[in-house]
Symmetry: C3
Subunit: 122 residues, 3 copies
């Protein structure tokens, strides 16, 4: 039950934003072994100058960063997370996002923290 | 000091969005035993197609999901969280949200992580 | 690698929103000893009535709250967080935000949870 948040410049066309969502989902399927149907995402289009990232800190050359936040149950080791990061970045690159512009942050919780609808089974 | 985030389609009228906020607050009061005045909420209206949820994964029949994120201090057990989930869903149903369309995710932190204004006492 | 989210009323002028971002960044530099270049921020302008805060709960006199969320690696003690809170509030006051209207919440994760671009080094 990852819940994915994508913060992207509103200058990115709507169909492209949706393609980003699909790219992230496919990356989680590949990297975490997640079910493809386990897709829960919110896309926030924002003014481009409201998405701020230092261009070079920690390395790389950032220009038009897409922020991806993943809230998920604590159950994956560091190597698995790296697989997911790499798969997401690769998939986003196919949609025109430079790999330096992919910024991902994970937050973890537990299974008790989810309510997936009244008839959803955690 | 829960901080609640509600992500809702911008096709939902403004007064309804506020009713959702009140429904969530009352659910936390009932389920967690929270003070009614402990209300800190941000409502994000978004294009309906930017709020993505698989219609059937984990069960249920999702159509117009409302995402509710709750950031709160780690101090409640699983049964208490279930009480809050159920109360929130029941209150939202009274406002016209189908219980299958309520999706809640909790993230926990500690008391040290809050600054409720300069004169606020944690 | 803190990732900062600022939720602010869209009645606040754009240049002021950016000043808020700089104020928060300078506060983290002063309070946490963070590098000034370690700046990753997203500003969400929202309708003023979508940013809800009880006016007096826990103390203070809230009127036009600015929510600041900080996602960062778990590595700072409570006293250090207080230093950051105080520095952020002081810097925001210089930009016209009443200290009672500053509301900050921290969420913590680990170094494994970050992907700062393809060539970024964690």
């Amino acid at each position: 039950m990852p819940l994915v948040t994508i913060e992207v410049a509103d200058t990115v066309p709507v169909e492209k934003r949706h393609a980003y969502g699909e790219a992230v989902n496919a990356g989680l399927v590949e990297g975490l072994g997640m079910d493809a149907e386990d897709r829960f995402q919110v896309i926030h289009p924002l003014p481009a100058d409201h998405i701020i990232a230092d261009p070079h800190y920690l390395g790389g050359d950032r220009r038009d960063v897409v922020y991806i936040r993943i809230l998920m149950v604590k159950m994956y080791d560091a190597a698995t997370k790296v697989k997911a990061f790499d798969a997401i970045a690769r998939n986003l690159e196919a949609e025109g996002v430079r790999p330096d512009d992919v910024f991902i942050a994970i937050t973890e919780n537990t299974l008790d923290d989810w309510y997936p609808g009244a008839r959803g089974v955690r």
